[in-house]
């Protein structure tokens, strides 16, 4: 502790060190206050006793002045702006991790001009360093700056690198190359080269018969860049035999070039193979079987200002995804343009925490290049409507019309007819293939409200009444010449329903009853109870 005659209230840099240790997630600033309070209390207790021999050298009045000044300092910290700059950031404890990584995360200190800002930034920097997943603990301490520079302080960032570089997790994710949410298990190797690099191998299984094996590396700041870099090699298999008589196998590389809260830019290079082991595919699917090379850039802009994605009561969300495929010197690779748009809006109604959620999603895909008017769009990149996910929480383009089963909307095409072994009679009807559309639009309206019982309200369980509509249309292979807006609008299928929503973080479980107001012959949907599961 500084001597009383050296204490200057206007230069808190000469105060004792202030630790901001978030190892336990607590606010170190508050701990320091408690410690000082305890010290202050201890000092007060000591005042009642005869002063010890050591303290006998410091007059009691000087001690009281010291305490008063400290109290005044903390009061000023709470009520007034205490000017303080950061002179230097010192890094300790990193034997493997490169200094630049920690320095770049701690760069926010440079702009601090007050003590309060420094304490706030300390909290943020601590969080960001913990988020790198390569440290067991992070301790940030404020120390006095050089005596020749009053009004400055040094920040000491002390890290303890993870003892074990290996970790495993199981969770639910949405990755760049995946088309839907997945449940996956991951094995991670941390910080092998000291650049905060995270190497992982993972296996994922998605709701729409998707299985993916991938390995990747994540650099939080690759070569000093301000954004992270993700590179993944993947082997993906998706089984659509039941719906469209084909299996998709894809292997390649995915590079996340830009990833922030609102923006995502991903480059995909993949070898895609469509096969039909059942040999029952319809003509349109048979024409697309084979190999193709996909080299594409996908940009996503997303802003979500809703209070909660699981139960939005107010706010809006907007997402737009643009994909251009065919970015390769080889003109024989797959070439198309794909655009998706999502808009959600939640209007609070004020009674029983009710809200009206409105949403509209649209998408279009079209080939480009020589002879594009007569070329079909790639089958895996078309839009398919139907499934067991809720359109409220997802912002992934037009995918769902409540009540319709996975890939359950026209257009369809009859599958290959087999002759039975008995003779000339035809075998059982093999069904139809769902071909998807080049243009898709979905819309919904959902009224959610709390139940009157408190038991439900406490658990977030609420009810909802909804209506949805959607349609698909083909535009490629000169089909756009027959397109008319009136015909498209008249082709919308509609459904209504009601149900109970059970939010189980991070999932949204819906138990609904659906009723189809309008459906076409081959649409797979009928009045029924159903469960929707989304995240």
């Amino acid at each position: 502790m500084a001597k009383p005659d050296e204490f200057k209230p206007d230069s808190p840099s000469e105060n004792p060190k202030t630790e901001v240790d978030d190892e336990n997630g607590d606010d170190g600033y508050e701990e320091e206050e408690e410690e000082e309070t305890e010290e202050h209390e201890l000092d007060e207790e000591e005042d009642d006793e005869p002063e010890p021999q050591l303290r006998g050298r410091i007059p009691q009045s000087a001690v009281r002045m010291q305490q008063a000044k400290l109290q005044g300092l903390f009061q000023r910290l709470q009520t007034q702006t205490v000017p303080l700059r950061v002179h230097d950031v010192l890094i300790k404890g990193n034997t493997k991790t490169k200094d630049y990584l920690i320095e770049s995360e701690a760069a926010l200190f440079k702009n601090c001009t007050t003590m309060q800002q420094i304490l706030e930034v300390s909290r943020a920097v601590n969080f960001r360093l913990q988020a790198l997943e390569i440290f067991d603990s992070v301790k940030i301490t404020l120390d006095s700056g050089p005596p020749e520079l009053p009004g400055t302080s040094n920040v000491i960032v002390e890290v303890q690198e993870a003892k074990s570089p290996l970790s495993g997790e199981i969770g639910a994710y949405t990755k760049a190359e995946a088309r839907s949410s997945t449940v996956e298990g991951t094995l991670k190797f941390k910080n092998i080269f000291g650049h905060g690099d995270l190497w992982d191998g993972s296996f994922a299984y998605g709701w729409d018969n998707l299985a993916e094996l991938s390995a990747g590396v994540h650099f939080p700041r690759f070569r000093g860049a301000s954004f992270p870099l993700d590179v993944r090699a993947f082997l993906l298999s998706q089984d659509w035999l039941q719906f469209s008589s084909f299996k998709e196998r894809s292997m390649g590389l995915s590079v996340a070039l830009l990833s922030s809260t609102n923006h995502d830019l991903v480059y995909n290079l993949g070898w895609r193979t469509l096969t039909d082991p059942s040999q029952l595919a319809s003509r349109s699917v048979r024409m697309q079987l084979g190999h193709s090379l996909l080299s594409s850039l996908k940009y996503t802009f997303k802003v979500d200002r809703r209070n909660s994605p699981l139960r939005p009561v107010r706010g809006y969300a907007f997402a737009a995804t643009s994909q251009i495929a065919g970015l390769a010197p080889d003109s024989r690779c797959s070439r198309f343009l794909r655009q998706e748009v999502d808009l959600r809006y939640a209007i609070p109604l004020g009674i029983l925490n009710s809200a009206l959620n409105l949403g509209i999603s649209g998408g279009i895909v079209f080939p480009w290049g020589t002879g594009f008017k007569t070329l079909p769009s790639p089958l895996p990149d078309r839009f398919f409507l139907g499934g067991n996910s809720s359109p409220i929480s997802s912002l992934g383009g037009p995918t769902t019309v409540w009540g319709y089963r996975t890939r359950g909307l026209d257009p369809t095409e009859p599958r290959r007819q087999l002759k039975s072994n008995g003779g000339d009679e035809d075998a059982a009807d093999p069904g139809v293939d769902f071909l998807g559309g080049d243009l898709a639009v979905t819309a919904f309206a959902d009224l959610s409200l709390d139940f009157p019982l408190r038991w439900f309200r406490d658990r977030g369980i609420h009810g909802h009444i909804f209506a949805s509509a959607g349609s698909l249309e083909r535009l490629t292979q000169n089909a756009y010449k027959d397109f008319s807006l009136q015909k498209f609008v008249s082709s919308f299928r509609t459904s209504v329903g009601a149900g109970i929503v059970v939010p189980i973080q991070p999932f949204r479980l819906e138990l609904n009853y659906y009723y189809m107001l309008k459906k076409f012959e081959h649409d797979r949907g009928k009045p029924r109870f159903g469960v929707t599961f989304s995240m």
Partner: protein
């Protein structure tokens, strides 16, 4: 890709090259067979699936005859009564033995020459020229490996195997040349599937394989085979499939039109049996029981967490 606009039969093959309507040695005999049978058909190309054993295939409406089923496309066309040129000869021992010779010795010779012999460049042109370079390269290497596995070829026995295959092919050419003589066709004066196989084989060797090919040199020794193939090539390439008389077997009524937006239709409701009604009732009870279980679980979860919080408070 050319589309068939007028219904009827469509033959899907690999791309044309080397002056042939389809340069694939497996697809060409099927093409010739349909021409011999005066069966009108449209030709479509598939360049994206070189390693598929389904191609060539013929389709008409919802009927499809793949090459990897029931002995091949030609066999299925015969069985289904579309085009049957072998009805009078298929039981002859001579016919059977020649068929076996062509489908084994000559087919193996073509396969070896394409993938392991001098026909490597031809193979790349026929199968991979429309695919991106990387994919074509990998598939070619894989195919070469598969062919080596099929013939059990290793470094030790490569030369011996090559000699065996070429010797068999030369023996087959001698036999076929002797059988053919100066006739128009192998059996009487009517084309059969054997003629389609042989014409396709010879034309492919003459036009698709390089001049230093062993098979080409062997075929050129038999002038009657050359004349026979050239004669039929002119007939095949000059004939117009649309002017040929329709075969007796028509494809099933075309239901291949894509079902697009149409007026909403209702499926006629059929009466539910007693068993179906009982099953539906049970299904409803089951769903209700599941719902109750979920709610019970959530309530227990909530109450247990409340007990935990209370215990923590007491601590």
């Amino acid at each position: 890709m050319e589309e068939s606009r007028d219904g009827g039969w469509t033959l899907v093959t690999r791309k044309p090259y080397f002056g042939l309507p389809t340069a694939c040695p497996v697809c060409l005999p099927v093409y010739i067979y349909l021409k011999f049978g005066r069966c009108p058909f449209n030709l479509e190309l598939n360049s994206s699936y070189p390693d598929s054993d389904q191609i060539p295939y013929i389709e008409g409406g919802t009927y499809v005859a793949y090459n990897n089923e029931k002995g091949g496309v030609i066999q299925q066309l015969k069985q289904d009564g579309v085009v049957d040129l072998d009805s009078e000869f298929s039981s002859l021992p001579e016919w059977v033995s020649m068929k076996a010779m062509m489908s084994s010795w000559l087919a193996d010779a073509i396969t070896y020459e394409l993938w392991l012999g001098s026909g490597e460049n031809s193979a790349k042109q026929i199968y991979y020229s429309d695919l991106p370079w990387v994919i074509g390269k990998v598939l070619f290497v894989k195919q070469v490996y598969d062919v080596k596995q099929r013939f059990h070829i290793s470094k030790q026995n490569a030369e011996k195997k090559e000699e065996e295959i070429h010797d068999c092919a030369k023996a087959a050419y001698r036999a076929l040349s002797a059988k053919l003589g100066e006739q128009d066709f192998l059996f009487e004066s009517r084309p059969t599937s054997l003629d389609a196989d042989l014409v396709g084989h010879v034309l492919f060797i003459l036009q698709a394989l390089p001049e230093d090919s062993v098979l080409r040199t062997a075929v050129l020794e038999h002038e009657n085979l050359i004349r026979y193939a050239e004669r039929h090539r002119n007939d095949i390439l000059n004939s117009d499939p649309s002017s040929a008389s329709a075969s007796n077997f028509q494809p099933p009524p075309s239901a291949a039109q894509t079902s697009s937006s149409s007026k909403p239709k209702r499926k006629p409701k059929r009466e539910k049996t007693e068993e179906e009604k009982r099953f539906q009732r049970k299904a409803k009870y089951f769903i209700g029981a599941q719902l109750a279980a979920v709610l019970l679980f959530l309530s227990l979860l909530g109450s247990s967490s409340k007990v935990d919080i209370d215990e923590d408070d007491e601590d």
